[in-house]
């Protein structure tokens, strides 16, 4: 006889119903049970005569030890097993592993479970995993509750195992409460517009567009400039292949221009984005040109790929004498200058000066430290590594030495980060070619000063450094030119961040959901990241990231419909009076509206939800005076039951073990 059967048959007898009383168990346990039983009686499933009482399975994860090193998971299982309606409570080392998932689906089949709770890590990480396991057991995946006892119990209360265990029990009790009132839900299916919008026509955008088009998917590529290629148009040769950047750009541009699946819009900006996965409505403003007038284009797309790129870091006025001295150049400026030298040039002349010694400074605008560097105009320190500057500097240093053996090249670095395929060779070759290396500690970066008049012939600028390689000698080196190894900063994409509701990291770049689980996705479904919009990357990495984004889009388009979580508002038309309080409060354009409908001879007004646009925020629920609107999966009665579950007193362990014997 299950707990519930027993309860139902014994409701008349107070003593029998709360056996703790008889056995002298403490007050706590009784009240806890009473509360739980009260919940059970209120179960709508039973009221509706749906038949058998609930059979809830609870699975508690050790997470290898991440949870079980702090939380006494066995005790949690032992305790929550006593909650009425709970049929089984098990502990597993990794519930997310295949054997763990199999245990759940198997139990659903074997023990006829109709509700499942997994207490483990974050729902963000594994809610989908367990919904899948539950569905494989033949249960509706929305009769599942996820409880995070890792971040919220074991990690948060590392030094209080007793408290963490008690908290885990309460959290699970809350989830069980919420599940009592859960109803099966179905995913919302909406038509999928099989066309992608790619924002940005640099190599990331071109690659993503080319890959999707070659897979038979229509793409609209929007680029602000009048030309495809982005930053690469200003580059010379690319490492490690040493082929001209222009070849790379041309190769990709040709592919997309020849593919009828790609519509390229140059001189164009995406100005408006609304809607949701499979159904984004976008507006594009086309700048006028000599042959056309400014115009606007509207389109519906299923996915949006953000390939908006980066901006090169621009030093502050006076940072390493930038803009104060003409011979201080950023890396892009140097590359343009050096490329522009005539083929027959015997020496480097810049600003009417013969350049005999060049200093390259690493980490300008990257790896900045609090208290050492000044924050930028946006108040932000660029604490990250820009990933590409080391190799670019060595590539350029080597190019200078090879073309002008008479020019000395000095390199000032913290670390040489030539990590990628073929990149270490630049370091090896630069060393062999006589590039002179100086190394500084990040907290004591080199300085650039005008050279004192007595040494001006040696060079107009002096780089001073405390050199780690000579055990901290303070060296001053006159040079003719300083090239700043400027890094990458996040691209400016204006109000697209707000319109699409994109998250940015502390570094200002667009933030992925998870670097390994969902590396090219953002929190908004259907929006993908490609390339340096996400963070510094080199060309090969950018192309790979763009390919990965295209793969995700292609997977999305492989389905007929887009499927959305059913957590949206639902109107009870028998209670709604069409007062539109909810519509006034709703912050999502089009998610709620008042419609007129015919009821018998009367025309009545009722609120109506657009499931695609509703995000399930619940603002409408809070303001409805008639409780006529509620949120599927998060209804008010579920909240109440959840709070009751959390607040109910816990039985003591001694009492708990007795209860096991009774039931």
């Amino acid at each position: 006889m299950s707990t519930n059967d027993k309860l139902n048959s014994q409701e008349h007898s107070q003593e029998d119903e709360f056996p703790c009383e008889e056995r002298g168990c403490d007050e706590e346990a009784r009240t806890w049970q009473k509360a739980a039983h009260a919940q059970l009686r209120g179960n709508p499933t039973e009221e509706a005569g749906a038949g058998a009482p609930l059979r809830i399975g609870i699975y508690i994860c050790r997470c290898g030890g991440n949870i079980s090193d702090v939380v006494d998971v066995e005790r949690v299982a032992e305790t929550v097993r006593l909650i009425p309606g709970v049929t089984t409570a098990k502990v597993h080392t990794f519930v997310c592993s295949d054997p763990g998932q199999h245990m759940i689906s198997n139990d659903i089949l074997q023990e006829n479970l109709d509700r499942v709770v997994v207490a483990s890590c974050t729902p963000f990480l594994h809610e989908q995993t367990f919904r899948g396991a539950v569905a494989r057991g033949g249960m509706n995946p929305y009769l599942y509750e996820h409880v995070n006892i890792r971040e919220q119990a074991s990690w948060a209360h590392k030094h209080d195992p007793e408290g963490a265990t008690a908290k885990a029990i309460r959290m699970i009790a809350g989830a069980v409460g919420k599940l009592r009132f859960a109803q099966p839900l179905e995913q919302i299916k909406l038509p999928n517009h099989r066309r992608a919008l790619v924002i940005g026509g640099g190599i990331a955008g071109m690659k993503a567009a080319a890959d999707l088009a070659a897979r038979g998917i229509k793409v609209m590529l929007v680029e602000t400039a009048q030309k495809l290629g982005g930053k690469l148009n200003q580059w010379g040769r690319v490492y490690p292949s040493e082929r001209p950047a222009a070849v790379l750009v041309a190769e990709l541009a040709e592919r997309i221009q020849q593919d009828p699946n790609v519509e390229v819009l140059l001189g164009a900006n995406v100005t408006e984005v609304s809607g949701f996965i499979g159904n984004f409505k976008v507006a594009i403003e086309l700048q006028g040109s000599s042959t056309s007038t400014p115009s606007r284009k509207d389109a519906t797309v299923g996915a949006i790929i953000m390939a908006t790129g980066f901006r090169p870091y621009v030093p502050r006025d006076g940072e390493f004498l930038y803009r104060a001295e003409p011979c201080v150049l950023t890396m892009p400026e140097f590359i343009r200058f050096f490329q522009g030298l005539s083929g027959g040039a015997k020496q480097i002349i810049f600003n009417n000066r013969s350049i005999r010694r060049i200093a390259f400074l690493h980490c300008v605008g990257s790896r900045q430290l609090d208290g050492v560097h000044e924050p930028g105009a946006d108040g932000r320190l660029n604490t990250y590594c820009s990933r590409t500057c080391c190799t670019t500097i060595l590539q350029q240093a080597l190019a200078v030495r090879e073309r002008f053996p008479g020019v000395e090249v000095l390199d000032f670095h913290q670390d040489i980060r030539t990590y990628g395929s073929g990149e270490e060779n630049y370091y090896i070759e630069a060393s062999k070619a006589g590039v002179l290396f100086f190394r500084y500690d990040g907290s004591e970066p080199p300085t650039v000063q005008p050279t004192s008049s007595s040494r001006i012939k040696e060079g107009a600028l002096t780089v001073a450094v405390k050199d780690v390689l000579t055990w901290g000698q303070e060296l001053e080196v006159p040079v003719d030119m300083v090239v700043l190894g400027t890094g990458m900063v996040a691209g400016q994409i204006g109000d697209l961040i707000d319109q699409i509701k994109l998250a940015t990291g502390e570094d200002g770049f667009l933030q992925e959901v998870h670097p390994k689980l969902r590396p090219v996705e953002v929190a908004v479904n259907g929006v993908l990241l490609a390339g340096t919009a996400q963070g510094p990357m080199n060309i090969a990495e950018t192309l790979a990231a763009a390919g990965a984004a295209a793969a995700k889009a292609a997977s999305m388009f492989a389905r007929e419909d887009v499927e959305l979580n059913p957590y949206v508002a639902q109107v009870d038309p028998t209670r709604c009076c069409g007062e539109a309080e909810c519509v006034t409060q709703c912050s999502y354009e089009g998610a709620l509206k008042i419609v007129e409908m015919q009821l018998d001879d009367e025309v009545i007004r009722r609120a109506e939800v657009n499931a695609g646009l509703c995000v399930g925020c619940g603002a409408c629920v809070a303001v409805c005076p008639h409780r006529a609107i509620d949120l599927n999966g998060w209804r008010l009665d579920q909240y109440e039951a959840m709070v009751d579950g959390i607040a109910a007193d816990l039985p003591s362990t001694a009492c708990a073990s007795e209860l096991v014997n009774i039931h």
């Binding site: 295949d98 590594c385 670390d415 990149e423 055990w471 997977s555």
Partner: protein, 437 residues
């Protein structure tokens, strides 16, 4: 999980290797509606990643990231998995790849095995557990590890004494001592090489004397020691089970070193050393931890901040190349190191009781001899195309992850997606051409 394959099975794509790269490629292809055969030479899918403790820079437990991908692949209706299976060669004729597979005997009938482990409990023969990097032991017949997929026992014939106990206890009669290797020829239009990496030997630099001390360990051994469900459940040094109190990480111990033929950077060692140092300082709060390095290459998203956090936690970073390691008394080790920190005393001898050598990444498989794929001078699969980093020299064969060169997990996963995209558009183009023609 579908594991039944005959030579008449013609998947759209075949993925070689079921580590994180192969899993991700297979999933990204299968999600696009393509049929994938995923081939793994080990008894379980999951590759190196499933054996790691936590992963940088988020410090998520590695299992938490890997198991769902393993499970998703195992349950995907479009993915078929063959474990214990090696690729013997690929011949391409008329744009169709004929892949020769060798299914090695497991001596267990997978159709009958229910993963109950009774055979494992009954077996008397133990040998050093390869999953635990030899730090623990495992029975001659066993399910490879807790979260292995498939959950089927595999018998190691090299150590098995054929006593028959496993066959006696097996409730389903799954043990088959006479199982033979099986050869298969699979025809497919696209192949993704995701065959991963190996580490070069601990002894690759003789001056580090790794053969003379058990307390000079590999980073993968330390991963197991740090894993919450590892061999000892805590960090103990191998020689005597002592809790180490002074741990040294020797960086570039198998990379960036022309003397051993590996001049490239292995790209992950700086970051995993920092991560391991952080985890160690949690596991052994009183231990001194020193990282000897040439350059700290914390280049990825969030990596530099991770490095700065480690410095703030009190982990010692010493810039200096370790010249020699000598075993000394009590199982300890003496490191001869030239540092750039002390002008008076640049040549130092420093004593530690556990040393971790950052071995270099080398290719896990050499496909150039038996397949149309060519490799570059360093042995990794060559990716010669400028605009498609996952294409190889052979049309219709693509590469993902560390098979193409050292790479961290984040970059591997991105590249795996790109390889899948490359393969799927190749298939689409090829089939559209056939339809039109």
């Amino acid at each position: 999980m579908n594991t039944h394959v005959n030579s008449d099975f013609t998947p759209d794509a075949l993925v070689i290797g079921a580590g994180i790269a192969g899993l991700q490629s297979a999933l990204d292809l299968a999600d696009q509606g393509l049929q994938v055969l995923l081939v793994e030479r080990q008894p379980s899918i999951g590759g190196h990643m499933i054996a790691l403790s936590k992963v940088y820079p988020t410090l998520d437990c590695a299992s938490c990231i890997t198991t769902p991908k393993m499970s998703a692949a195992a349950h995907h209706p479009n993915i078929t998995i063959l474990t214990n299976t090696e690729v013997e060669g690929i011949e391409t004729r008329d744009e169709v790849h004929h892949v020769r597979l060798l299914q090695k005997p497991t001596y267990v009938n997978f159709d009958k095995c229910i993963g109950c482990r009774l055979c494992e409990y009954a077996c008397d023969t133990e040998y050093p557990d390869p999953f635990e990097e030899g730090l623990g032991s495992v029975k001659a017949i066993a399910v490879p590890f807790t979260n292995a997929i498939p959950q089927k026992a595999v018998l190691n014939a090299e150590v098995c004494g054929t006593c028959g106990s496993c066959a006696r206890v097996c409730p389903t009669g799954a043990i088959e001592y006479d199982q033979q290797p099986r050869r298969l020829m699979i025809r497919t239009d696209a192949v993704i090489v995701a065959s991963g990496f190996n580490l070069n030997a601990l002894t690759v630099k003789p001056q580090y004397n790794a053969q003379r001390s058990r307390n000079i360990i590999s980073p993968l051994m330390l991963e197991r020691l740090l894993a919450p469900h590892g061999p000892y459940g805590r960090v103990l040094r191998p020689s005597d089970g002592k809790m180490p109190s002074s741990i040294a990480f020797v960086q570039c111990a198998g990379s960036r070193d022309e003397s051993i033929g590996v001049s490239y950077c292995s790209r992950v060692c700086c970051m995993y050393a920092i991560k391991q140092a952080m985890l160690l300082s949690g596991a052994l709060p009183l231990a001194d931890i020193t990282i000897y390095y040439m350059d700290i290459r914390a280049f990825g998203k969030g990596y530099e901040q991770f490095y700065q956090n480690a410095k703030a936690m009190g982990i010692n970073f010493v810039r200096g190349k370790v010249a020699r390691i000598n075993p000394v008394e009590d199982g300890d080790l003496s490191l001869h190191v030239e540092t750039t920190e002390d002008a008076e005393n640049p040549l130092q001898e420093r004593r530690h009781d556990l040393v971790v050598l950052a071995q270099g990444m080398i290719p896990g498989w050499q496909p150039s001899a038996t397949t149309p794929v060519t490799c570059s001078a360093n042995g990794f699969v060559a990716a010669p195309t400028l605009t498609a980093p996952t294409a190889t020299t052979a049309p219709g064969i693509f590469v993902a992850g560390t098979a193409a060169g050292p790479k961290d997990i984040v970059d591997t996963i991105a590249e795996a997606g790109a390889a899948a995209m490359q393969a799927s558009q190749y298939l689409y183009q090829k089939r559209s051409a056939i339809l039109v023609g």
